[in-house]
């Protein structure tokens, strides 16, 4: 297991799915976790599962874009400089083109793309971030592939896995690494919603396309721990696919 001892890591989307699992894994690796999520009850649920001490949580809706800067200031004032950021907050919807609205597109991109950029912008300021650090964005194999009704989602995840390259270049001088992770289908609440929105046959087809079966949030959390640790000190600007073989089948 890679160590995150003495590191303070901020995780967005920490109240469920990959964000929740990653937060717990960080605490098990010795890190201090700062949880961000919309739902306070669920954040507390994650908070109560963390190991060790010194963790904190902030109830915040990332759609409140203009408040992100002051949230970052508050977090740094109350927790000290940050060593890592996991942009795990994300929304997913299945909306075919003919009924796709600007509102849907805007909300998807605001949460999946813009909020992560804004958080990175403020956290990466040298007064807020440690001299060595790691920032992770959660993309998806859907950022490279397609699925009917996934225009907003696929578009936003494609944006994520490419924008980490200029971010990595800009932040390399500060020794801050930026990478993204593209998971295949992982069993989370978001996946339950996906399966509920498509036919049983379509769900089975998706499952069958994963040679190693469907993943778990823990599979992705383990990769996050590696990217947050010093063991990945030479890894930046990379998108890592973790999908049980989905994208090669």
């Amino acid at each position: 297991m890679f160590s995150l001892k003495e590191k303070t890591i901020v995780v967005t989307g920490a109240s469920s799915g990959i964000g929740k699992c990653t937060s717990i894994a960080i605490s098990k690796a010795g890190g201090r976790v700062v949880l961000i999520g919309r739902n306070e009850d669920r954040l507390i649920e994650t908070f109560n599962k963390l190991e060790g001490i010194g963790h904190s949580y902030y109830t915040f809706d990332l759609l409140n874009f203009s408040e992100i800067k002051s949230l970052v200031s508050r977090i740094v004032t109350e927790n000290g400089k940050i060593d890592g950021l996991v942009n795990s907050a994300g929304v997913e919807s299945t909306v075919p083109l003919k009924v796709l609205s600007y509102k849907n597109l805007e909300e998807t991109f605001k949460i999946n793309v813009f909020s992560g950029i804004e958080l990175t912008k403020h956290f990466s300021n040298k007064k807020n971030f440690s001299s060595k650090g790691s920032i992770i964005f959660l993309s998806s194999v859907m950022g490279s592939l397609g699925e009917k009704g996934k225009i907003a989602y696929c578009g936003s995840k494609a944006a994520v896995k490419n924008m980490i390259k200029p971010l990595a270049l800009e932040l390399a001088d500060k020794n801050i690494r930026v990478n993204s992770i593209s998971p295949g289908l992982v069993m989370t609440e978001m996946t339950d919603k996906l399966f509920a929105s498509i036919s049983e046959q379509s769900s089975q087809d998706i499952i069958n396309k994963h040679p190693l079966g469907i993943g778990t949030p823990n599979d992705v959390a383990s990769l996050c721990i590696y990217l947050l640790s010093n063991s990945s000190r030479w890894v930046t600007g990379t998108d890592i696919i973790i999908d049980g073989g989905y994208s090669i089948s």
Binding site: N125, K126, K127, E170, D173
Partner: protein, 73 residues
Amino acid sequence: MNKQDFFEELQELLELDFTLTETTVIGEIDSLNLLSLITFLDENFDIQKTGEELKSITSVKNIIDLIGEDSLS
């Protein structure tokens, strides 16, 4: 923008550890910060400059001269 806000925003933009005044010498600005300064001048003062034109800036006074004292109310 008033002068105090200008000093604070410039300090934040260039990530400087010290408080700025009219007489502060910044020193050479690196290429990434020059790009940030170009956007800052354009968005806040409607001044369009190239990196080459801003290359000689080394002090707060250089920037104030560029935007004009009157622009800082």
